[in-house]
């Protein structure tokens, strides 16, 4: 790879060392989940070994030092991966100001996406694995609209919000997934097809070498990379003590913008972002709010306005906005026969105002209607 991204051998060996240290760090970093692992990762190789694996430190160090550069490059090539280190060209500038930035990034997919990650060029979308249909819909729309506006969407391939953000972004272009295991491993395994699509059309990143297995500590470590990569982190849904809030903490510590999507105050799934909003996070209702926060108000306008609705359809849309999630609820709320409610819902779904899940649950999309009061 003469023209591709390059990494110096010492930085590469650091990645392999972290993979070797997986179980040792697991032992000392668990118990206080979250912040401990990234702190450890600030240490030099020798200090890290002394803290995590004092008994076998010399042995492990010798093993890593013995890895030849050609051997490392061969392993990367065998897994269709490449690497870029902090001394190289393609290493994202945004990571340089983080004290615990990874020495090397192992990637699989299109390295040119990293160039699009100038400090304002990307947004990290995170949230709960257990998300509601509201959260999923918002994450998908955010992913899609931001990508369409030329913003790279970064997330973590997890269940729920992460996957929806990736899927939405893929509908409009490329996306970056940061993993807590080697970039050649789909984790969770249920997202194998999504992982494959991102490898083909976007980019999968990790600080761990190919074949590395995930540990509990690698996820907060991955979160710190996600927070540092982009100029803004948006939390879509998260319970009060969710792991997604760790990413938000990292972003705030680094001085990055922090956004949160508001939710019902009674919803446990929205407690995290609602708390962030109370603490001064930027209010994110749609992609336009993100663009305003990153680029300045009005710098880039998104057109999400749908066509004019006839009165009957507008009423059906209002019913969905008021919390009717099934066709039956809409029919009852509007006191319509079932057939008419069904027809109205199908029409506003075709126009893009609502989406319907496989189990018949309707959710409002981010498309605004000309008749709604907010325009």
């Amino acid at each position: 790879m003469a023209d591709g991204p390059r990494a110096c051998p010492s930085c590469l060996r650091r990645s392999w060392l972290l993979a070797l240290l997986g179980p040792y760090v697991e032992r000392i970093a668990t118990g206080s989940p979250g912040s401990r692992a990234p702190e450890l990762l600030r240490l030099s190789n020798e200090d890290l070994l002394a803290v995590a694996a004092p008994k076998v430190a010399g042995q492990l160090l010798a093993r890593v030092e013995a890895l030849a550069e050609t051997h490392l490059q061969e392993e990367l090539a065998a897994a269709s991966c490449w690497a870029s280190c902090r001394h190289g060209d393609l290493y994202p500038e945004s990571l340089l100001d983080a004290p615990d930035a990874p020495w090397a990034l192992i990637g699989r997919g299109d390295p040119s996406l990293l160039a699009g990650l100038e400090p304002v060029g990307g947004v990290t979308v995170v949230g709960a694995r257990r998300a509601t249909s509201y959260g999923r819909e918002i994450a998908r729309t955010l992913g899609q609209d931001l990508t369409r506006a030329g913003i790279v969407v970064v997330s973590g391939l997890a269940f729920g919000i992460d996957a929806c953000a990736h899927r939405g972004a893929l509908e409009a272009g490329a996306t970056i997934a940061v993993l807590g295991c080697g970039p050649d491993t789909a984790y969770p395994a249920a997202h194998r097809s999504l992982w494959r699509r991102i490898c083909e059309r976007g980019l999968v990143l990790s600080e761990l070498p190919p074949g590395a297995t995930p540990w509990r500590w690698t996820f907060p470590a991955r979160n710190r990379i996600m927070a540092a990569l982009t100029g803004m982190t948006v939390v879509v849904e998260a319970a009060a003590h969710s792991g997604s809030l760790i990413t938000a903490d990292f972003a705030a510590d680094l001085g990055r913008d922090l956004g949160a999507v508001p939710g019902p105050v009674t919803s446990r799934a929205s407690a995290g972002p609602n708390n962030l909003l109370a603490g001064g996070a930027c209010l994110v209702r749609d992609a336009q709010d993100v663009l305003d926060a990153m680029l300045g108000a009005g710098a880039l306008r998104l057109d999400r306005c749908g066509p004019e609705l006839e009165p009957a359809l507008h009423e059906a849309l209002m019913a969905v906005e008021a919390g009717a999630t099934t066709a039956d609820a809409v029919a009852s709320a509007l006191e319509l026969p079932g057939a008419e409610a069904a027809a109205a819902l199908a029409r506003i779904e075709v126009l893009g105002y609502v989406s319907c899940s496989a189990f018949g649950i309707y959710t409002r999309t981010a498309m605004t209607s000309p008749g709604s009061p907010d325009v």
Binding site: A331, G338, A343, L345, S357, F359
Partner: protein, 498 residues
């Protein structure tokens, strides 16, 4: 001496002819039955011996051999007692009846000689007619059922002691009145009026019934899914008399004629722990399953996601073809099973649904649960209805429209379908070629094309939507599918995942 009597054995729901040959000759006294009898047939020895003696006949103290021909066919059940007894009486010279070779006999004997009802008398009487018998002698309890069959004399017999009077011509029983076949539902059956509120669910039920479309209801426990499903037979059109006979034949073979004929179309709701052979039929000897019992009626699968995967997989073929083929080493059976599928499922393992903040299910659990649904049977389901807990006002409100009114509309829609597709067929059975021939208005066509482009519908989903739209148009009495009908169909169709 040798005597032969015709009888029948039940194989699934079909009756197969059997000749009972009895030979009585001198030798060490004994009573042997040969010709692949099962345990119940072999025990006929004891019943026949006691019944003959208790009715005042003589049990010959000679060597008795009973052969059941054809010897390759497996004979099951106690229905051959009467034929064995009659043949034995004839062979030992105690009964002299010219008509005996042209008469079929079935019936179980009690020890005192009275006859007991057998299963499948309807199928047996039909098979006797096909076999060329002029009369069939059978237990009095089965008389009404056998009298449904035209073209054969039906002789109800209370006990073995009447046999000699019958043979001598001293006693001529009247042909019993044929069992009345109930084509429509009974007044006492559950009525759709019990479903209060829930306008969209009512609409989905009506469309499903009108086109014979399979229906899946998804919603939290207690929202009224089972209540709605049990009302589906009451809004289906009444059975045609030929269909009623098919239903009666199956019910008779399974010994549940009384239950099945209580309310027109059958309604079967097997529990989700049922095995594949319990659902589609099987076992050895093969027995009809729930799918066959639901023939011409409704098969309701509650908790669809909890059913065993192999059971649901086994149901796929029969749903498509309307019949089950059971192949065993000995024989092959074709069982009819044209039923309407109604299924219900919870939205997630805890039942509350993802939209409910109290749902405690992990995402992987929900994914696995919904995956179970999409795998096996989802392809065959046309309509999805999301059911929600009715509000207190709705539950306390006025009763809904009664079944009879809905049934009128369904019947009118079915008549339109039969005119277009041929007798007995409905929109759910349209082939893809027929579905593409539906006449679409321009607005409806552009609506469908719009969604097709936006959501990348599969070809199969496209056809399914057309079938649904056609049914809705039939309900509305429209010749072409208008925009409103197409929009309703798009809303009702089952969504592919995602």
């Amino acid at each position: 001496m040798l005597a032969t009597v015709r009888t029948f054995t039940l194989d699934g729901i079909a009756a197969r002819p059997v000749r009972v040959e009895v030979d009585v000759h001198r030798g060490l006294p004994g009573f042997t039955i040969v010709g692949l009898p099962d345990a119940a047939v072999r025990e006929a020895r004891e019943r026949v011996r006691a019944a003959l003696v208790n009715c005042g006949f003589e049990f010959p103290l000679q060597r008795i051999v009973v052969n059941l021909a054809p010897a390759s066919l497996r004979k099951a059940g106690p229905g051959m007692d009467l034929a064995i007894a009659a043949a034995l009486l004839s062979a030992s010279g105690q009964l002299d009846w010219d008509l005996l070779p042209r008469t079929a006999m079935v019936g179980e004997l009690a020890l005192d000689g009275t006859t007991r009802a057998v299963n499948g008398a309807l199928a047996i009487a039909e098979a006797a007619r096909e076999d060329g018998a002029e009369a069939i002698v059978l237990p009095a309890e089965n008389g009404a059922e056998a009298a449904l069959v035209e073209g054969i004399d039906v002789v109800p017999l209370e006990g073995l002691e009447r046999l000699s009077a019958l043979a001598a011509g001293e006693w001529e029983p009247r042909r019993p009145a044929a069992l009345p076949l109930q084509l429509g539902p009974n007044p006492g059956t559950p009525d759709l009026a019990d479903l209060r509120g829930q306008p969209h669910l009512r609409h989905a039920l009506e469309v499903a019934a009108a086109g014979g479309h399979s229906l899946l209801m998804v919603g939290p426990p207690g929202a009224g899914k089972s209540l709605a499903a049990s009302r589906v037979p009451s809004i289906l059109p009444p059975l045609a008399s030929g269909e009623a006979l098919e239903v009666a034949r199956i019910a008779s073979a399974c010994g549940r004629l009384g239950a099945a004929l209580s309310g027109g179309r059958p309604f079967r709701a097997p529990h989700h722990t049922i095995s594949a052979s319990g659902l589609v039929g099987g076992g050895n000897p093969p027995r009809p399953g729930e799918a066959t019992l639901a023939h011409r009626g409704v098969l309701f699968l509650d908790e669809l996601c909890e059913f065993r995967r192999d059971a649901l997989e086994a149901l796929r073929g029969p749903l498509e073809s309307g019949e089950v083929t059971i192949s065993r080493a000995g024989a092959r059976q074709l069982l009819p099973c044209r039923f309407m599928l109604v299924a219900a499922a919870n939205p997630c393992p805890c039942g509350r649904g993802e939209a409910d903040p109290d749902c405690t299910c992990a995402p992987i659990e929900v994914q696995r649960y919904q995956g179970r649904l999409s795998g096996a049977l989802a392809d065959r389901i046309d309509i999805l209805a999301a059911v929600r807990q009715p509000s207190a006002a709705e539950i306390g409100g006025a009763p809904g429209e009664p079944s009879a009114d809905v049934r009128e509309r369904v019947l009118a829609a079915r008549e339109r379908q039969e005119r277009r597709l041929g007798p007995g067929r409905c929109n759910a059975e349209m082939t893809p070629a027929e579905a593409r021939e539906c006449t679409l208005g321009t607005a409806a066509a552009s609506l469908l094309a719009d969604l097709y482009a936006r959501q990348r519908l599969s070809g199969r989903a496209h056809d399914r939507t057309l079938r649904l739209a056609q049914t809705i148009a039939d309900l509305a009495g429209a010749e072409t599918i208008g925009e409103a009908e197409m929009a309703q169909a798009l809303q009702l169709r089952r969504r592919d995942r995602g």
